[in-house]
């Protein structure tokens, strides 16, 4: 009776695992290549189409606080969004009601929103205060310190509040 070569029996499960893994890796690469070339998914709620559309709706001076995120949201990104939105909603409710201040969360991974990266020279998930006067954008400020302060909640809130007060005060 012919004997199997040493290791042949152990090779079988290895081959199966290797084939399954190879299929998995190839499938991942295929989905990656396909998703890189096609338009993004439907726009989620709270997403702003573009700067011009927002400006069209403006009839007076106001500030729009844009939180720019991606499709994949990291833990720190969620914390930044949550804390910033909380400051806006709790300390600036009056301005939100009068329309002097708006909050928009924008997904930068959607093709229609990628222009924001150039418009505001974004390098990461960001919080940007954009000033409009009589329907025209007159300035913006990228709040760069959010990533440095995110682990100090008190300092983070103070920073966002101060920047919003300064932006609204000069508006």
């Amino acid at each position: 009776m012919p004997k199997n070569e040493p290791g042949t029996e152990r090779m079988k499960p290895r081959i199966v695992i290797a084939i399954v893994a190879a299929i998995g890796v190839l499938l991942s690469l295929a989905v990656f290549v396909q998703s890189s070339g096609k338009p993004g998914k439907t726009q989620p709620q709270n997403t702003v189409q573009n700067t011009a559309n927002s400006a069209d709706q403006v009839h007076h001076s106001k500030i729009i606080a844009y939180y720019f995120h991606g499709t994949v949201r990291c833990m720190t990104c969620r914390k930044i969004e949550s804390l910033s939105h909380d400051v806006v909603a709790s300390d600036f409710m009056a301005q939100l009601k009068t329309g002097d201040l708006e909050w928009h969360a924008v997904n930068l991974d959607l093709p229609e929103n990628t222009h924001f990266i150039r418009d505001y020279q974004l390098v990461a998930r960001s919080l940007v205060l954009v000033k409009y006067e009589n329907g025209k954008q007159t300035g913006y400020k990228n709040l760069q310190e959010i990533w440095r302060l995110v682990n100090d909640e008190k300092a983070f809130r103070k920073y966002i509040k101060g920047e919003l007060q300064a932006a609204l005060g000069s508006g």
Binding site: A21, A22, V25, L29, V72, R118, V123
Partner: protein
């Protein structure tokens, strides 16, 4: 303190902040596992850590030079790396994991040379640590992109130090991982020595590292490609 020292300290601290933030946790676990896997030989663990640090540091220096001196815009470079490197990481990590647990073998060219390459690849030769450092440095997550492109690059431009400050940032990103890997390797080695299971530990450390790579690779594929 002089502005040069403040800049140097800030760059190093930004690197440490990047390393200890939750965002690159998955790649840090893979790196710690890889660096500490050759527990039998402390010198190799240290050499792995050194090359991992060099790989990361060199990558950040090159990226900083490219960002500052080339026609590529910093926002475009940052988002290109964030979008595509995270998607490539999954398949790469799974492939490396499969080599580490010896399910697949890298292609060989000629028997003698092939066997040497194969053995070295399965052990994860120390040059692999340098390549891993480069790969993980390029896989920017939101936190590392914000701190590198948003904080370090402006600091490097202001300080007119496009090489030294990004280099210090790279050291800062690698050192906590390196230190943790050495501590784990030494701890595991002490336990294995007590139980006289050092050679068995070596085999299991490599298998565990391979499994960690595969699991993290699946996590990356699921999060950045399929989700």
């Amino acid at each position: 303190m002089s502005p040069i020292l403040i800049g140097a300290f800030s760059a190093f601290w930004l690197g440490i902040l990047t390393s200890i933030s939750p965002c690159p946790l998955a790649t840090n676990i893979a790196a710690i596992s890889y660096l500490g896997k050759q527990v039998q030989n402390t010198k190799t663990v240290l050499a792995n850590g050194f090359l991992y640090t060099i790989g990361r540091t060199a990558t950040y220096v090159v990226l900083a030079v490219v960002a500052v001196t080339s026609i590529l815009s910093v926002p475009e470079l940052s988002f290109f790396l964030q979008r595509y490197m995270s998607k490539l990481m999954g398949p790469i990590l799974i492939a490396v994991g499969l080599v580490l647990i010896e399910v697949v073998r890298p292609p060989s060219f000629g028997v003698a040379i092939g066997e040497k390459i194969q053995a070295r690849a399965q052990r994860g030769g120390i040059w692999g640590a340098g390549a891993l450092g480069m790969l993980f440095a390029l896989s920017f997550c939101p936190t590392s992109a914000a701190l590198f492109f948003g904080s370090l690059i402006p600091l490097a431009i202001d300080s007119k130090s496009v090489v030294v400050l990004p280099g210090l940032y790279g050291l800062g990103t690698a050192l906590p991982v390196f230190a943790f890997a050495v501590l784990i390797a030494l701890g595991a080695r002490s336990i294995a020595t007590v139980f006289q299971r050092l050679s068995a530990l070596e085999v299991w450390a490599r298998r565990i590292t391979g499994a960690v790579f595969i699991l993290i690779g699946i996590y990356f594929c699921w999060t950045y490609i399929f989700a």
